[in-house]
Assembly symmetry: C2
Homo-oligomer: 237 residues x 2
């Protein structure tokens, strides 16, 4: 409720929302995350049809419904900010749909890797961005990142399949690189189109931000964690 | 824990499970419900692609995930009865898959009606059968029947569409009859194949059951409630 020293707005207080650009950036971010979760749900539910057994199908659908469960609190938060949740999602539909159209899995294992690695990349990005948010929004964003350990089964399934078929490992490693490349392409597209969201990262008069070097380091961290996840699956990155 | 008068087994006590035929019937029932929920989820998630707006899509997916949320407690209960949940589901996959294959919606409204009316019929049947179960199984079955009011939106959407297009009402009324017919066909098939499950309804030496006239009255009640649901949607049955 009070301004911090130096005349900057307290990023943890409601005052943050008195900056219309900050509010716009948060509406953008929550809209992007919400549509990302809906879209992730849809693709996982579709990929579930490729499951070799009913048990595998139930496991992937459990991951899908866990993603979808995040949508309701994001909608509520958008509404409490006076935004129409579906209008807030609209600007991100094209980039997210394109990401999925360009990375449609051709089999069950590509679907599993996409679920694990794609979700991981998105979560890393949101975790990075969460540092620039007020406390309430940050808590909400961080809560959407918890997967409840459902994706453990992906690691088990992929590792077992690679042991059984070494050529599969090479193909899936390439697939992981393609997912990363496509995600960066679409993220850059969003950054170029959504000024408020980019400004959130770049900082503003009242808020600390990232210079170009810091943004570079952020992407280096995200790429590094992608490599760690690929290694966890037993794949080169 | 005690036998009731007349030498019959207390249907509310663990002793009910000392009758192997009763246990087999409960495993069948929970397996059928679990696969029904998984399958309902799959079809709703697929029908969601026909949604005219993102908001409608989110509404139908919310119904789908509510169905799927029932699967985990059903699995746990099957495991606590010493049954393999997926083996318990297996005998019902063909009938339930056939029901869906024969009632694939050709548009968004047929999908909505199917979600509402199909789910309603299944729930009525489970509610009828619940009367013949021990208390713990009954509570679990009844809990799977709660839809949390999500389907209210189906009634609103269908009524509004019929007002706008009267011919749609005639087509959807026919569709409702077809759903009911196909559900009865598959239910009879299951009853013919699964002796323990049929015996649960018919009763046994130790348990009260239904004679043919009572089974007829049960189906009359289910048909009547189907007609009520169709009327609620603004459709003739």
């Amino acid at each position: 409720m009070t301004e911090s020293t130096g005349g900057t707005v307290d990023p943890d207080g409601p005052l943050a929302f008195e900056d219309p650009e900050y509010r716009e950036a948060v509406v953008d971010l929550l809209g992007a995350i919400a549509y990302g979760e809906i879209s992730a749900f849809e693709r996982l539910a579709e990929d579930a049809r490729l499951a070799p057994t009913l048990e595998d199908k139930v496991a992937i659908v459990t991951m899908a419904t866990a993603e979808f469960a995040h949508v309701a609190p994001l909608r509520e938060r958008l509404e409490s900010l006076g935004a129409d949740p579906f209008a807030a999602m609209a600007p991100f539909r094209s980039a997210i749909d394109l990401f999925h159209a360009h990375t449609a899995p051709s089999d069950w294992f590509e679907g599993l890797i996409k679920a694990y690695v794609g979700d991981g990349m998105a979560n890393d990005f949101y975790r990075e961005i969460a540092a620039y948010l007020d406390a309430e929004t940050r808590d909400l964003v961080v809560a959407t990142l918890e997967d409840g350990g459902h994706s453990r089964f992906v690691v088990d399934r992929v590792r077992a399949a690679i042991v059984a078929d070494h050529r599969l490992g090479g193909r899936l490693a390439l697939w992981g690189r393609r997912l990363m490349g496509e995600a960066l392409t679409q993220a850059q597209r969003v950054a170029a189109e959504r000024d408020a969201l980019s400004a959130l990262l770049a900082g503003g008069v009242d808020r600390p931000g990232l210079d170009l070097a810091a943004i570079g380091r952020m992407f280096a961290r995200i790429t590094e964690r992608h490599a760690e996840r690929m290694a966890e699956l037993g794949l080169d990155s």
